[in-house]
């Protein structure tokens, strides 16, 4: 009887209607989130007011007054804002180069892991296990104190051919200095690239239309090479000149020196992240169906061709998503720079917070910097990921 009543007579009351309940719980949840956020914010502003701290960003216009060891042009009389920018650029530099080299290292090691050479796979395996299972901070300190600072002092530098010096203050090498004609040369270089591509495309079209062999690549390359060469020699003065390092009383001046702090951080990040990327690459390759491999062999492709034309394109769509998170990790891990004295954005931000007594605004700036870097990386990688996905029609 009761069942009958439930089934036929009464509609479902609204407090048991799944759709109403779903919406209601969502609203409730949103309320909870807003409340908690509000509570945290109220607590923070209350605590800040109590300690006489403000939440403004006005301090960014004040003179910083501290020196930064490396990075873009900056002097202690610049503002805190500029100092922070130096840190941001330093972070971008080390994480950008880190991502590039870690990818190269990771792909090489990942492929080597699958090699038929017994010794090679064992060595590579040991590297991956050793690096993945020890903390990055420990590795950074190791690279800095136990490897780089143990190199010979400046006055007894190892000298490599081409005026490159290796010493415990880094690697000093000759560097190119632009002369007044440099901008002119850049123009001819740009013209070479544009005209080269243009020639190549026009010739291809012509070839397709008429069927005559027009050597599009050769002609394009010649255009691309000849124009900058003309631009290099015609103005009379070469657009760049070499600046040679000279050993002064304490350090080398002239040329370019990679500091030990930067080197240690870069090497540490690359070696560490490279091990993770290697495993991702290995997994990606192994996930390609065996039949693809056999088919490629049957076609008579060489090992290199097989990797380049068959395996990698298919492995890539498996590799990209986990690779993205490794890139993000690398960028975020660069904040360990402070341990080896590299002035990245976290280190500089910390100094600013300390000198101004404004920890909250500075932490907000640091967090939003890392957030933007990560989101932009993720955005790019997601776009790339969509490009390499299977297009199913």
């Amino acid at each position: 009887m009761a069942q009958q009543a439930r089934f036929h007579h009464q509609p479902v009351p609204f407090w048991r209607d799944v759709r109403v309940l779903a919406i209601f719980t969502q609203i409730l949840f949103l309320l909870v989130v807003i409340l908690v956020a509000g509570l945290l914010y109220a607590n923070m502003t209350h605590a800040l007011a109590q300690r006489g701290l403000s939440l403004g960003f006005g301090f960014l216009k004040l003179e910083a007054g501290f020196e930064i060891g490396e990075g873009i042009r900056y002097s202690p009389s610049d503002t805190y804002g500029r100092a922070f920018l130096v840190g941001v650029v330093n972070t971008l530099l080390v994480s950008g180069l880190g991502i590039l080299f870690a990818t190269i290292l990771g792909v090489i090691v990942g492929v080597a892991r699958l090699s038929n050479n017994w010794l090679l796979t064992r060595i590579v395996g040991a590297y991956i296990e050793l690096i993945r299972n020890t903390p990055l901070l420990v590795q950074l300190v190791f690279w800095y104190f136990a490897v780089i600072l143990q190199l010979p002092p400046v006055r007894q530098s190892l000298e490599l051919p081409g005026n490159i010096y290796i010493h415990q203050r880094g690697v000093t090498m000759p560097w190119l200095i632009p002369s007044p004609t440099f901008k002119l040369w850049l123009l001819t270089l740009a013209a070479g690239i544009i005209l080269g591509i243009l020639a190549w495309r026009v010739l291809i079209q012509y070839q397709l239309r008429t069927g005559r062999t027009t050597y599009p690549i050769t002609v394009g390359l010649i255009v691309f090479i000849v124009l900058p060469i003309l631009g290099w020699y015609l103005p009379g003065e070469t657009p760049v000149s070499w600046e040679m390092p000279v050993l002064q009383r304490f350090n080398f001046t002239g040329g370019r020196t990679l500091t030990p702090e930067f080197t240690a951080l870069l090497v540490g990040l690359v070696v560490y992240t490279g091990a993770f990327i290697a495993e991702i690459v290995r997994a990606g390759i192994q996930a390609v169906p065996r039949g693809q491999l056999e088919a490629a062999r049957a076609l008579g492709l060489s090992n290199a061709q097989m990797l380049r034309l068959v395996i990698f394109p298919q492995a890539l769509r498996i590799i990209i998503p986990p690779l993205t998170s490794q890139y993000l990790n690398l960028a975020k891990n660069s904040s360990l720079a402070i341990a080896v004295g590299y002035p990245d954005l976290f280190a500089v931000g910390g100094t600013i917070a300390n000198q101004t007594g404004q920890p909250v605004p500075v932490i907000i700036m640091i967090m939003s910097s890392y957030l933007s870097i990560s989101l932009l990386t993720a955005l790019f990688m997601n776009w790339y990921n969509r490009r390499v996905q299977f297009v199913v029609r």
Binding site: R16, L21, F24, T25, L28, F29, L31, V32, L35, V36, G38, L39, L40, A42, N43, H46, A47, Q50, R51, G52, L53, G65, F66, E67, I68, G69, E70, P76, S77, F145, L149, Q150, P153, Q168, R169, Q248, R249, F250, N251, T253, P260, E261, I338, A339, V340, G341, P343, A347, G350, T351, N354, Q355, G357, P359
Partner: protein, 370 residues
Amino acid sequence: MDRRLLAMTFTLFVVLGLLLSACQMAAQPAPAPAAETSAEEAPKPAEAAPAAQQGSRLETVKARGKVICGVNGGLPGFSYLDETTGNFTGFDADYCRAVAAAIFDDPNAVEFRPLSAKERSTALQTGEIDVLIRNTTWTISRDASWGNFAPTTFYDGQGMMVHKELGATKLEDLAGASICVQTGTTTELNLTDQMRARGIEFTPVVFEEIDATYAAYEEGRCDAVTSDRSQLAARRTVFANPADHIILDVVMSKEPLGPVVPHGDDQWFDVIKWIVFGTIQAEELGINSQNIDSFMDSKDPVTRRLLGLEGNLGEQLGLSNDFVVRIIRHVGNYGEIFDRNLGPGTPFNMDRGPNKLWTDGGLLYSPPFR
């Protein structure tokens, strides 16, 4: 369906609870002075919250049974972990003990909290520590934003240590040099100021950890390292070859070092102030840990007030009247603390210099105990 209902009821309760605690927070008078409102305290029952928010830090410390003292922890002579005993030793550590002795009559009622130069301001501002005794320079901006500075216990100046083989004798000899420095210090700013004023180019190599700073210098990454002169002398004693390093004969700044307490607590500030003054006044009167008993029947009213035999000076601060006696018995007067940790009998062999009593031409001066 039932599970969903259950979850909903639960959520409802959570929301109600949050709403209630929010109302409760809003209902409290907003500018409660010396309040310790933190996230975990907010949702406590109504009757418990106001009790915790009243009173001085002195009461909190007494109730806790120990004082939490922020120290350096990596600075021989000031606060350094003694490998044989496992205790912190040094000048700053002894002042932490003096605070504990004054409050609890027990110099060991201290929890030492080693802090890096960068961490210390936050630890102080958030009230994580009761007092910071960590070779911290008294400056106007820190006084305004960090906390209240008690009397200076050590008058220092910034110096520069270089590798002897470089043959540098003055700052101008360091043009083009790399200089190691610890971040979060006044040293970092003074260095830049001094070098800018003299037009000397240099490259700073900045570390957060004191050990990393000196390790990088000792390994040769830097030509020089800069810090307070006392710190340079102290760290040099733990180098592999102390004789290979010289401290230049320059004083780049004034560095008055002393205890700091969090803002907004006058009573606690007074307690720390007069504990420091007590050690200075005791030395001025010639009272030390060895001879203090012979002063207990002194007729001198100045001595009698200091030792709490007359008046209620200690009670006015919220301490016991004999708080100076407790300090002297357990830790000693200023001269004893200095000599024990930094004086001629120690590897540092530091001269008292400006840290002499005013009666000897130094800067140590205690206002009257009356």
